[in-house]
């Protein structure tokens, strides 16, 4: 991976400055079954295509944000700050 990613605060920066934290998952609301919990904790869609994922500008401003990336080409379609509580 060596693409350029735009931090919502700092703009386009080499991807080395960021920490990747995986695809966006949905946390169960309350007392999930073991299967639901296992799904959430361990299973990922791992799509070949557009994926919503978490990034942190760790070597920069420290912001956590969401990016939509095409996993086949590393094209970044959009970046946005998270809307809390969703």
């Amino acid at each position: 991976m060596s693409f350029v990613l735009a931090c919502p605060h700092c703009g386009p920066r080499p991807v080395d400055e960021f920490a990747y934290s995986g695809e966006v998952t949905r946390r169960p609301q309350s007392s999930p079954t073991l299967r639901e919990l296992t799904d959430y904790v361990y299973f990922r869609d791992n799509v070949a295509g557009r994926q919503r994922e978490w990034w942190q500008h760790r070597q920069g401003c420290g912001e956590w944000f969401l990016a939509e990336r095409d996993t086949r080409t590393n094209e970044i379609i959009s970046v946005s700050l998270p809307k809390p509580g969703t």
């Binding site: 693409f3 350029v4 007392s31 998270p82 809307k83």
Partner: protein, 860 residues
């Protein structure tokens, strides 16, 4: 002997530079390369070839071939033809036993030996098996390139720098310079990279010139690492313009590797740049249109050129012969010419490698008889002759007939015979054959052998070059020192503000994550343990992660991050906290002090600070509580003062009241110690009465000195480990792993399951419904032996668990430890065995602290 001054010569005759070749002291001029200076001193053989140890001389003078690789100041495989000469340089030939011109290993060339056939690595060296160590030793001695100086130490420093460019131009020839200038008219941010020193002083308005420097490849996202010697620049460019030009191709004929056989550019550089006569009597052999031009250049330099052969006229037979590796005569279609120089031109091949790495397609152009780049990706452009522009078709034979070894690949010593043989053996695809014969796999990376070998394949297989195709061009496009790739990245060593005090005290330092920490100050860590138990010890715990969590909703945030309860924690009080993941894994632990209603002070493990900070920030990005997280790890130093004398000692340095009623166990208070404002946490870090002081790190040495002057004795990480083990404390990541959870690791009291939500709650709900297979418990050894960490626990002769920590404790009077046992074997007093040095030693399960289990000492 130099020629009279040439118009554009690079040498400064007023400034001689001395250097050494082996035992000889030689001289050159400023502006020389090491190669040109050696040539000026009469040196013609520069290296010995890889397999046959044949003498080799300057071939390209452009840094493309393997022929001039030598060791310079301890660095192997330096291409001396492009390496600037410096005063005092020490040059040594490599791959030689004896002297360059009398290499004993060249018997391999004369008598064949095991090296002759292609694929000998795969065939000859298999049997008998027991002989392999012998073969290996011999092979390593004779093959290979250069030798690393094992004692080189850290004489060179390498750095990595990240840079950006609007337009990055690679190659500073005419086309590259014009492109750079054109780009500069549109604004700043234009960088031109070129391999040659020549470009270093060239002024191009609006263009930053980086020379001598090499672009190593084009990666995704238009990343171009540029090797400039000791700095690796990682360029990100919006636009990349490749102007790498062409690489002159050699001709394939018997004797084509003799010293004195040169490409036109080599002859041109020796004459024009360094004012050297490349030979006395030359023959020119050209498969393209350049024969007259080459002959003209040579004659101007005073070289006799008795014969010029335009190979397009259809010569069939061609061979060169020499003495002691130097060319002496050339025979073309039966007609012999005596000479000491042969200038060969096999046409020019676009240097497309970077473009193909960037995603461009490479296609064989039938009319030019070379491979050209096509269909470049967006943002990547090519200008000049790399596109095929201006190239005149060369028309020579794939290989000329004659007697003697005929090399397709001089790097790997692959002959036409080897290639033919590999085809006979069925390696008819170029990619397979490349792996079998190693053609194109040597130091030139195919620059000089890719095209000739493909011509040869096409010829032998009676097919077209387009059908054969090319091998994949991979980065790096030019050789690079490993040191440069391993250059200092973002992995700093962290030292606490007391680092030099520890060193002055003779501490043995050890790694703890990114930190350097004292292992112990003296020979015997147990002495330091005793000090803490009996009087007063102090340990530098500045490495603890320290976070401030502040805001109206700080309590809610922590309440949801930790399995513990923090909302009911009173201001001024402390609670031990453990962080878990949603999968139930134990992630980190530390103390949480509430300093005010909306302000918490959180400590983490020494290695966990950054991860915990990121973890807190991430969850808060998800939940959006009105709370801020600030990592103050580096800003604050921390000292833990421990031992029965700690209250009295600290009281002497402060006016704040420290009595047991005023400053209780698990209280957090702001106090002033020797004039330094401190946050004091009264915790039982090592099981004795103790105070942890957190304060601005600028005061660290001052406060440390005061405490030591007052009788405190420093203790290191190893004594701390013993002390904490005596209390049965679990080290997250040492005693726990990704399988452990709060229930199995002996902390079932910690999670508050009646809370609405916390990270890890869902998993704990499920863990509570099942019985844990294994439990983490303490144990006492029956004999005085210390099992290794990870030692096997054996129950009834079967492996049943493992030891995670074990130390000898003077205080307890036994070897104690922690380990994982099957749940039905984990009751207090149960006997089991531990494997120590191949024997089994008895041990018994122990629950709770091994020492002062009621915790009276730390509460006193």
């Amino acid at each position: 002997m130099r020629l009279p001054a040439q118009p554009g010569e690079l040498i400064d005759r007023a400034e001689p530079l001395g250097f050494r070749l082996g035992e000889y002291r030689l001289e050159g001029f400023r502006g020389d390369t090491i190669g040109s200076a050696l040539f000026a001193n009469g040196r013609r053989v520069f290296s010995r070839s890889f397999k046959y140890h044949r003498p080799r001389g300057l071939l390209c003078c452009s840094g493309h071939c393997p022929n001039c690789m030598m060791t310079v100041d301890g660095v192997p495989n330096v291409r001396v033809c492009v390496e600037p000469l410096r005063e005092g340089a020490v040059v040594t030939p490599q791959n030689v036993l004896g002297r360059l011109d009398m290499d004993f290993l060249s018997v391999v060339d004369k008598f064949g030996g095991p090296f002759t056939p292609v694929g000998f690595y795969y065939r000859t060296m298999i049997r008998p098996r027991f002989m392999w160590p012998v073969y290996e030793k011999f092979l390593r001695g004779v093959a290979g390139l250069g030798r690393l100086d094992e004692h080189a130490g850290h004489s060179r420093r390498y750095d990595v720098e990240h840079r950006r460019a609007r337009v990055l131009v690679i190659g500073g020839g005419q086309a590259g310079r014009a492109a750079a200038l054109a780009a500069a008219t549109a604004g700043p941010g234009v960088v031109l990279v070129d391999e040659s020193v020549r470009l270093a002083d060239v002024e191009l308005p609006g263009v930053e010139v980086l020379a001598p420097a090499r672009a190593l490849g084009i990666w995704e996202g238009k990343l171009v690492p540029v090797d400039s010697g000791t700095v690796l620049y990682r360029y990100r460019a919006e636009r990349i313009i490749v102007a790498t030009g062409t690489v002159e191709q050699p001709l394939v004929f018997p004797g084509n590797d003799l010293a004195g056989v040169m490409l036109p550019e080599a002859a041109r550089r020796l004459i024009r740049d360094f004012s050297l006569r490349p030979g006395q009597r030359a023959i020119v052999l050209a498969a393209d249109e350049r024969a007259p031009e080459i002959a003209e250049t040579l004659r101007e330099a005073g070289v006799a050129v008795p014969r010029v052969v335009d190979l397009r006229e259809g010569a069939r037979q061609l061979e060169a012969h020499g003495r002691r590796g130097h060319v002496r005569r050339v025979v073309v279609d039966g007609e012999e010419t005596k000479c000491d120089l042969v200038v060969v031109s096999g046409g020019r091949q676009p240097a497309y490698s970077l473009l193909s790495q960037a995603g461009g397609r490479v296609e064989y152009d039938e009319s030019l008889k070379v491979f050209v780049p096509r269909d470049l990706p967006a943002g990547i452009e090519a200008v000049g002759s790399v596109t095929g522009e201006g190239i005149v078709r060369a028309e020579g034979a794939a290989a000329y007939e004659g007697s003697g070894k005929c090399f397709v690949c001089i790097c790997e010593d692959v002959t036409t015979k080897d290639v033919k043989r590999s085809i006979e053996e069925g390696f008819d695809s170029i990619e397979l054959s490349k792996r079998y014969t190693t053609v194109t796999m040597g130091p030139c990376q195919g620059k000089l052998c890719q095209l000739p070998s493909i011509h040869l394949y096409a010829h032998e297989l009676h097919t077209y070059e387009a059908t054969i195709g090319t091998t994949t061009a991979r980065p790096p496009w030019a050789p690079v020192e490993l040191g440069l790739l391993a250059g200092r990245h973002l992995e700093p060593t962290r030292r606490t503000s007391l680092h030099f005090r520890h060193e002055e005290l003779g501490a043995r330092m050890m790694w703890a994550g990114p930190w350097k920490r004292p292992y112990a100050y003296g020979e015997h860590p147990e002495d330091e343990v005793r000090t803490v138990h009996e009087s007063l010890g102090v340990i530098d715990v500045s490495t603890l992660g320290k976070l401030l969590v502040e805001g109206p909703e700080a309590a809610q945030l922590l309440e949801r991050l930790y399995p513990n309860r923090f909302a009911d924690l009173k201001a001024g009080r402390i609670r031990y906290g453990v962080l878990t993941s949603d999968g139930g894994r134990i992630m980190d632990d530390g103390t949480v002090a509430r300093l005010a209603d909306d302000l918490y002070y959180v400590t983490t493990t020494s290695t966990g600070a950054d991860a915990v900070t990121a973890w807190f920030e991430w969850w808060n990005a998800v939940w959006g509580y009105d709370a801020e997280i600030v990592n103050v790890t580096g800003a604050l130093a921390a000292l833990n003062l421990a031992g029965p004398r700690s209250r009295d000692a600290l009281q002497r340095l402060t006016e704040d009241e420290l009595s047991a009623d005023e400053f209780r166990y698990l209280d957090a208070k702001h106090i002033e110690v020797a004039g330094v404002p401190c946050l004091a946490l009264r915790i039982g870090f090592v099981g004795e009465l103790g105070y942890e002081l957190h304060f601005p790190s600028s005061a660290a040495e001052y406060l440390w000195d005061r405490l030591l002057a007052d009788g405190a004795r420093p203790f290191g990480l190893e004594p701390q480990r013993i002390l904490r083990l005596e209390k049965g404390h679990v080290i997250v990541g040492q005693d726990t792993d990704s399988e452990s959870n709060l229930l199995s690791a002996g902390m079932p009291w910690l999670p508050k399951m009646d809370k609405d939500d916390f990270v890890g709650k869902f998993a704990l709900e499920h863990f509570a419904e099942r019985d844990e297979r294994e439990l983490l418990v303490g144990f006492t050894m029956e004999d005085d032996v210390v099992p290794a960490e990870g030692a096997q626990i054996v129950v009834e002769g079967q492996p049943a668990g493992r030891v995670t920590s074990a130390r000898r404790s003077e205080q307890v009077g036994a070897v104690i430890g922690l380990g994982w046992l099957p749940r039905d074997r984990a009751d207090a007093g149960t006997r089991f065995e531990v494997r120590v040095d191949r024997r089994l030693v008895g041990a018994r399960v122990h629950h709770g602290a091994f020492f002062d289990s009621a915790g009276e000492r730390m509460r006193s």
